[in-house]
């Protein structure tokens, strides 16, 4: 109905924008309450994340994570499947990356990257396949099972890292460092080719472009192929899909496999592109932030790009905040939570007044 009441641009731009402003306003109040200056906090965040190529290097690194996990949630949600398991799927994807990078002597970075993408996608898809199968065949609710699988994934990784993959001499639960050949080209290297100076230390790398490519491919999949048509139809109405002869089991499985694969590939960025070894909790909550990104982006493969950047900014800016002020790092989680709450859960709180405004404008006009 929304499309008939409000122009599309307002639905896509104004609603998230207003939600964001409200979330920021409340965040400002919280910052005031702990005795800090919210304006100064905002300045620090912007400077720390967007004020230098160093900051951008981190912001875009996080953005890459959120693009892939956001895309994962968005694709599943097109089939009305709420995949909360991006976190676990990305963790297991990390295992795929580590195995490929540790045990196969790759000649160069790009063959390794392709292999790592394939392996992480396969591992992530596998991890999503079990809840998907349980949903498709047994009707176990995907929200419950994917949440459970996050915990199982965390435990599996804990075991693998402390008992199987940890080098005998190392103290911390992490794998050995990957071979230096496998280092992914960072923005410093890529932009250097066209003569743009970029900070050497920011971990943003070629996976940013891979993630953007995936967004484009996902758009093609959803709006130009039969499979996408069927996924969207199934998401809109299960009985209608059944009437059209679309197999629900197939759609649930395929959508969740794609979703899990995308979440898994996020690990290529955070493992190969980041610390160059698999550490405990390599995902750092990016799977959950993907949910917020998808919600804000209306589950549209292109629509999620801006929110992914926003959360990249919040993540990096929040880190700077913790360093430069007495505002604890947890504050950024509060801000993120507020953004998620207003853009996702309380969508109608903003939408309805806006619709009323447009209605009044139209009647007058």
């Amino acid at each position: 109905m929304s499309s008939t009441r409000m122009p599309k641009w307002a639905d896509v731009l104004l609603v998230p924008l207003f939600s964001l402003l409200i979330a920021f306003a409340i965040s400002a109040l919280v910052i005031l309450a702990i005795g800090e200056d919210p304006v100064e906090a905002l300045v620090i965040m912007v400077r720390g994340s967007l004020g230098s190529t160093y900051g951008w290097g981190y912001t875009l690194y996080y953005t890459t994570n959120f693009l892939l996990t956001g895309l994962a949630v968005a694709i599943a949600f097109q089939a009305r499947l709420f995949n909360i398991g991006g976190e676990g799927q990305a963790l297991i994807g990390g295992l795929g990356v580590a195995l490929v990078c540790l045990f196969i002597p790759w000649p160069n970075w790009w063959t390794a990257m392709i292999a790592a993408i394939l392996a992480s996608a396969a591992f992530g898809a596998l991890w999503a396949a079990i809840p998907a199968f349980l949903q498709a065949k047994r009707g176990s609710h995907i929200v419950i099972t994917t949440i459970m699988f996050n915990f199982i994934a965390a435990s599996v990784m804990n075991y693998m890292l402390s008992h199987v993959l940890r080098p005998p001499t190392a103290m911390d639960p992490a794998t050995a460092r990957f071979d230096d050949v496998l280092r992914l080209p960072r923005l410093h290297d890529i932009l250097g080719l066209v003569g743009i100076e970029f900070s050497r230390s920011g971990p943003a790398n070629i996976m940013l472009f891979v993630a953007l490519l995936f967004c484009g491919l996902a758009y093609m999949l959803m709006w130009r192929t039969r499979l996408g048509f069927e996924i969207r139809a199934f998401g809109q109405s299960e009985p209608a899909a059944h009437y059209a002869g679309i197999s629900g089991v197939k759609i649930i499985m395929v959508a969740m496999l794609i979703s899990g694969a995308l979440a898994g590939t996020m690990a290529v960025n955070s493992v190969m592109g980041g610390p160059q070894r698999l550490v405990l909790n390599a995902v750092e909550g990016a799977g959950f932030i993907g949910i917020a990104v998808a919600l804000m982006g209306r589950s549209h493969p292109i629509g999620i790009i801006a929110p992914a950047l926003l959360f990249g900014f919040l993540y990096q800016g929040g880190g700077e905040l913790a360093i430069e002020t007495t505002i604890p790092r947890e504050m950024i989680i509060v801000i993120q939570a507020l953004v998620i709450m207003f853009t996702g859960a309380l969508d109608n709180m903003v939408r309805q007044p806006l619709e009323a405004v447009f209605l009044r404008l139209r009647r007058r006009g």
Binding site: R224, F229, Q236, S237, A240, H242, Y243, G245
Partner: protein
């Protein structure tokens, strides 16, 4: 001219204050003006019909009267006194009772418990139960309103459930009873029974408002009738002084053909043949108990029956949506009823078209645009593909434009979402999709449910045309008029069986009504 827009000139209006008077009621939902300056007077002790097409604003008006919606402007007078009705409690206090189209009963409560629910009047149930039991016995005697007070509601038939709704209203001392499309789920005999009850209530001085889209009912039971069109009250007339044709014209705003014009059928070879077709649902209930039927080229087989007697399952099993057992052949080729190999998609590829009875739930994706809905279900068709990977959206759009034009879908804009079309135009989109594929067999469920009269005419014409092109059509409808108008043969379903087959010229509503109620053969 009998049309009297305000109804104020009605004879006899002077002798007493009307039971209900609405003055200048307006209500808008967003840009849609559902009710526009409605004036109506309902005289005490009469049955007053309100008739209008779907979306004419009947239900909105009654919802305002019952306190579900608040009118933007206007006032309500009960017995001549201005009354504020802001919720259903106010309405009940004002003596208004409502019987909804979809009953609002607690299924696993007894009749008695349902009747006192919300009007217990005491922390202990015993006294109110005793009081209700006494009243129920009395009402049963007075108005043929007999229902076993201790029966559990879910065990009752729809006719009896409806009586419970009426009893609920009477228990709350309603003087004005509003019934919204009360006969949709009833057999003709049950409907007659209901009308007898209403007559009895009227004689006791109760006022009854009957909302319906069935002209026949209006003519049979009402004293006066108000006609609504596009949110406005266009006329209030005495039933005795009007005719169905005139009412139909008032509803639509132009002349309409109520009867379907068609040449005699020229039946050809058998297209679909079913023997001992059975369907058992997920709960193990046998929905089809052995159906035998044949449909030939160039004929329409109409299935009459009260909703819920297996007609939906018959359509769905033939369309490959639900599994069944038995022998069914399509043009001589046996169908896989187990659905191990077949499904709704292969059935379409076998040239079976299916206009699902529930276009909102199944026939359309409401959030998809019209052009996407034109491809829906046929999206695997070769002409819709650009290459092995991609669909040819442009080809689909062009195809949709043609179909939308030929089926006179209004507005003719393929980029609008399906939900933004009216019921009739939505149905035309579905029909355009299914008919233009030239299926050998077309399964049609309730083709004109929730469709305005103008579109009904069009849809009926298209179905006859398809028949005349030598296609076989299986038509399921709860509207007997539609069954009579379109069918070349009529089969009546009751409780998962076909009770009998009749030729439309050699039968009548009474005979079909008995068959629909499960009374067989020669006794009729």
């Amino acid at each position: 001219m009998v049309a009297d827009v305000t109804g104020t000139g009605m004879a006899g209006a002077a002798d007493a204050a009307p039971a209900i008077e609405l003055r200048g009621i307006s209500k808008a939902f967003g840009p849609v003006q559902a009710n526009k300056d409605i004036n109506i007077r309902v005289r005490k002790g009469t049955i007053h019909g309100i008739i209008g097409e779907n979306g004419a604003g009947k239900s909105t008006l009654m919802s305002i009267l019952y306190g579900f919606y608040k009118a933007d402007s206007g006032e309500i007078l009960i017995d001549g006194k201005p009354t504020q009705i802001s919720d259903s409690q106010d309405a009940i206090r004002a003596g208004i009772g409502m019987v909804f189209q979809h009953f609002k009963l607690v299924e696993n409560f007894t009749v008695l418990e349902n009747v006192i629910l919300g009007a217990e009047g005491n922390a202990l149930l015993k006294p109110s139960k005793a009081r209700a039991r006494k009243l129920l016995t009395q009402l049963a005697a007075d108005y043929e309103l007999s229902v076993d007070p201790d029966a559990v509601v879910e065990d009752l038939g729809v006719g009896n459930q409806q009586r419970v709704e009426i009893l609920k209203a009477l228990y709350r001392e309603a003087n004005i009873l509003i019934l919204d499309e009360p006969t949709g789920v009833l057999t003709p005999a049950e409907a007659d029974h209901l009308f007898r009850i209403l007559q009895g209530l009227k004689e006791q001085g109760k006022t009854i408002i009957l909302i319906t889209h069935k002209l026949r009912e209006i003519m049979e039971v009402t004293d006066e009738v108000s006609v609504m069109r596009r949110g406005e009250m266009v006329a209030t007339v005495k039933t005795a002084e009007t005719s169905p044709t005139e009412l139909a014209e008032l509803m639509v705003g132009r002349k309409v053909l109520l009867d379907v014009q068609k040449a005699p059928a020229q039946p050809g070879e058998v297209v679909l043949s079913a023997r001992n077709l059975k369907v058992v649902d997920r709960h193990g209930v046998e929905k089809l108990r052995g159906i035998d039927l044949d449909i030939r080229r160039g004929e329409i087989l109409g299935i009459a029956g009260v909703a819920g007697n297996g007609q939906s399952e018959l359509l769905e099993v033939l369309a490959g949506m639900i599994p069944g057992t038995g022998e069914v052949t399509l043009l001589g080729k046996p169908l896989d009823l187990s659905l191990k190999r077949d499904n709704a998609r292969t059935r379409r590829e076998d040239s079976v078209g299916h206009v699902h009875e529930d276009r909102h739930r199944c026939g359309l994706i409401l959030d998809f645009m019209a052009w996407e809905n034109i491809a829906f279900g046929h999206h695997n068709a070769p002409e819709y593909q650009k290459n092995a990977l991609l669909m040819d959206n442009h080809a689909i759009l062009e195809d949709a434009k043609g179909k939308i034009e030929r089926f006179d879908v209004r507005p003719p804009n393929p980029m609008l979402t399906a939900e933004s079309f009216s019921g009739g135009n939505q149905q035309k989109i579905v029909l355009a999709r299914e008919i233009e594929r030239n299926p050998d067999l077309l399964l049609v469920g309730q083709p004109t449910r929730g469709v305005d009269i103008g579109a009904i005419e069009f849809i009926h014409k298209r179905l006859i045309e398809l028949r005349d092109q030598g296609k076989a059509i299986l038509l399921v409808s709860v509207e007997l008029d539609e069954i009579f108008g379109l069918s070349d043969r009529i089969a009546v379903m009751f409780d998962g069986r076909i009770m009998g087959e009749r030729e439309p010229e050699k039968t009548d509503r009474q005979e079909l009504g008995l068959l629909m109620a499960g009374v067989t053969g020669d006794a009729a």
